[in-house]
Subunit: 339 residues, 2 copies
């Protein structure tokens, strides 16, 4: 199959997806989609354009035998998660795809990949507006575009001393699944199945991100692990933080929670998984104590659990406060894609 | 070197580049650059955002031993060329880079790549606003952003029956060099050196593209070969074209022109190189005969030679008209990245 036929068959759609009222802005914002030298976008008046790029490489970000529908979902989800962390609403994306010959010929694989990709894109009214395909080792590079009212983006550099530190959802499931798939530990089949869903089909917290505009002082998505991504906020905001370990326990992976696999692992291990695991695509954010009720209400509106786990302090670095109130420094080392 | 250190050392710049007045809009348009979950862009009022993505793979788009500064230049140039073909002015770009371990450690290679990239970016006031780096087989994916006044983009679907077909510059040099580097033919060293410059350091026709706004009815950049890219215009515009071979001869590669290597090759071969070679990054465009003087004036303003080579016709397909006025159909097959 040639390049142009491949695009035509799997990635070009004659009709924009049918969207509900909420997602309507995307359609109005795309002036020109696939098929010209450039696509043309028109953000709504008063809106700024939020842009993010992620590149996924076989063997590094996903296993060669991963379900292609899940891969299509995740390739877009990790980008949408960056929009969520800025409080932006999705508009469109471009897809650049390097395919080895056996993949370019594999219509089942391509069809499933496109299906997983478009299912998530359609759910958020996010249109594919262009891209590139080429032969080469499997590589997926998506650039995503969203819009956010001028001055309202949730940046990393806005955390203030005294702010609370909040996290959405639960953390560590993805790392729990990854370790099992790598043979680092074993999991009961039902726990692995659930954890694997979170590794392979993460849910970008778009509604929560938009609900936090005007409330959160800073935000980031958790892709490199909580301590790493909170560390990015601390560095950008020139501050430190203390995390209460008893509160952080509430974040422990859904799948490793009290009702399932927790007996197999000790609490220290689970806490480490939670704080440093990565690939969670939840949000970590800060907000002044005066808006706690507003944060809880935003979580409710977005159907996302939000947990307060600590506070921003003047002293730089990240400290974990144990049950007896003792502070131990915590290396805020993020996942490094070259390590 | 870790991911974050690599970005910090080679790709993050504390100061936006110093720009002359002409390039100023880019700085005003970038609200937030590298270092957050997303970058934020604000196109000027009344402007639409033009977006294009290109992915370059080692062994497919460049040789493994290519000069890294030339590679940095070309990776951005092929994207800027897409903006040129829309009549857009550059604002910003993102860079996603997969690097094998030996490249990630090679500071000389990385420094030269970044130097070539930023030299071209700075010349056009185009700011690096974000991206991604990861370990993996060498892959460079750039997404570029430009702005164009609403309704004035040079699209592919605007060619009208009776319009002239025009081409900027000369064509075929890049293919001439590629063939010599692949051992398909030999070239005198000075001719190879010149042709190689055009293969490795193409000049995006940004000034010409912007000068053609309101004049050209359709445009595309020549990346896949003249017949292929003109074919895209014809398909989008639902029309055909006749090319006068005597006029097309004027496009013959600068380096293979009468003063140099032309003796080594027959005219048929040179014409084929010109019509189908690819990797030229010149513009092919259409305009009504009534604006011929305006097209010439736009070329002068942009310091780019423009040549009229044929006309848009109702009958679909592409025909080459020989010296005796006989038409022969020409397969408008574009370069296929999977062929």
């Amino acid at each position: 199959m040639g390049e142009f036929e491949l695009i035509e068959r799997f990635f070009k759609r004659n009709q924009p997806p049918t969207l509900d009222g909420q997602a309507q802005p995307a359609i109005n914002s795309v002036v020109l989609g696939i098929g010209d030298d450039c696509a043309l976008l028109r953000p709504a008046p008063g809106m700024q354009l939020a842009v993010s790029t992620d590149m996924l490489v076989e063997g590094r970000h996903f296993f060669a035998d991963v379900d292609p529908a899940a891969l299509g979902h995740k390739a877009l989800a990790v980008n949408l998660s960056d929009l969520a962390a800025m409080g932006a609403e999705p508009l469109a994306f471009t897809l650049a795809l390097a395919l080895p010959p056996e993949r370019a010929r594999d219509e089942g694989w391509l069809g499933a990949f496109a299906h997983g990709l478009f299912a998530l894109a359609d759910a958020h009214g996010c249109a594919l507006i262009g891209g590139d395909t080429t032969a080469g080792p499997l590589n997926i590079c998506i650039t995503v575009f969203g819009q956010v009212p001028a001055g309202q983006a949730l940046r990393r550099d806005g955390a203030q001393v005294g702010d609370d530190v909040w996290v959405s959802g639960t953390l560590g499931d993805a790392r729990l699944a990854l370790g099992a798939l790598r043979g680092e530990w074993t999991l009961p089949p039902d726990v692995l199945a659930s954890a694997r869903q979170r590794l392979e089909r993460p849910t970008p917290r778009l509604t929560l991100g938009q609900a936090l505009r005007g409330i959160a002082s800073a935000a980031a998505d958790i892709s490199d692990g909580l301590t790493g991504d909170l560390g990015h906020i601390l560095k950008a905001s020139n501050a430190g933080a203390a995390i209460d370990s008893k509160d952080a326990f509430h974040l422990i992976a859904f799948c490793a929670g009290p009702s399932s696999a927790s007996d197999s692992f000790d609490k220290e291990f689970l806490l480490k998984l939670t704080l440093t695991g990565g690939d969670d695509y939840e949000l970590v954010f800060t907000a002044p104590p005066s808006v706690r009720a507003a944060v809880q209400a935003a979580g409710k509106r977005a159907a996302a659990c939000v947990t307060r786990i600590g506070r921003i302090e003047e002293a730089s670095g990240l400290r974990l406060i144990d049950a007896r109130g003792r502070a131990t420094p915590f290396a805020a080392r993020a996942f490094d894609h070259f390590a």
